[in-house]
Symmetry: C3
């Protein structure tokens, strides 16, 4: 297992960590199988989405904001229950196939750290899951 550091600058932000994950696949010497990318926080997550037009990122954050009806009577005293919900909806990990040491992402896919209660300093754990020998 290796770890990445991610610094966010806004309350909600998507940070492209694709290149950093690809570099760790090399360091972990994973040739074939899958790589697991895990966020050890409860108000952030990780997702795969489009890496081309940056408006997809802002649209995604706006819609995740609009998804939760206003005026809910949250009781958690830290006032970030909406961020906990978004973290569970987006998920705490993604797993990506690896072949010949290369992430098998689609043409338009990038791996995004998803901050929902920033700005903060965050960590991401990256684990190699080797495939069958064959």
């Amino acid at each position: 297992m290796e770890a990445l550091d991610v610094a966010t600058v806004s309350r909600a932000q998507l940070v492209d960590i694709t290149a950093a994950v690809a570099a760790l696949v090399g360091r972990l010497a994973l040739r074939s199988g899958a790589v697991h990318v895990f966020v050890p926080h409860t108000t952030a997550g990780v997702t795969i989405n489009e890496n081309a037009d940056p408006s997809v990122k802002s649209d995604l954050l706006m819609a995740l904001e609009a998804l939760i009806p206003p005026g809910l009577a949250f009781t958690h005293s830290e006032g970030n229950s909406d961020a906990h919900l978004r973290a569970s909806l987006i998920g705490s990990s993604v797993t990506v196939p690896v072949r010949d040491g290369i992430l098998q992402l689609g043409t338009w896919q990038g791996i995004y750290f998803a901050e929902f209660d920033g700005p903060r300093r965050r960590r991401v754990y990256v684990t190699a899951l080797p495939g069958a020998a064959g």
Copy 2:
């Protein structure tokens, strides 16, 4: 890693790929561990849900449609930001345990390719993740 081709005929559609994934578990000679099913697209995903009553599929698609409030000011020029959001909510992969070469799905579970911006021709990557020897 093996790949499946999936053709969709509607904008939003759930396609049962359980039998195809089970066949690839055999071809990959996976006896024990888990199989990883990955969608390399940004406006589609994969989910596990009921395989018995087909109305569950149509209800799921209708509710995913209704989830996103109308009138959001999306800026992505391709006009499919709603599909990108649904892809991130549903997720780009599922992982299913395998024992004795058999998918350990529950009685009512099927694996569904989830199209949100079809009709299109799509791919699905299937990777064997062997478990411990014991």
Copy 3:
């Protein structure tokens, strides 16, 4: 693969299964890699969220309730289409890194079985995915 039994007492409920999963990591003799936690049901799921303030759990369930607009014309005759939707949004499995035989969860993270159509008796499958030898 090992299995856990979980009994729920409400229609919607989050049950902390972190300690039970950690115990199975020991029984599976997994030292390094990841553990896969899978729910073989279609109206329940599993998620990772905060294990400290219990109000996060109740806020999460309340918001998942409020997410789905009232008055949708669901057609599934069992009347639990909302539970099927929540299961697909939360997801049927989580995967957590393991190092030196210990779950690499963040300080505030717990693993929660997520019941959406209880009370019921449920199962959870736990599978060891060994990492690279190195």
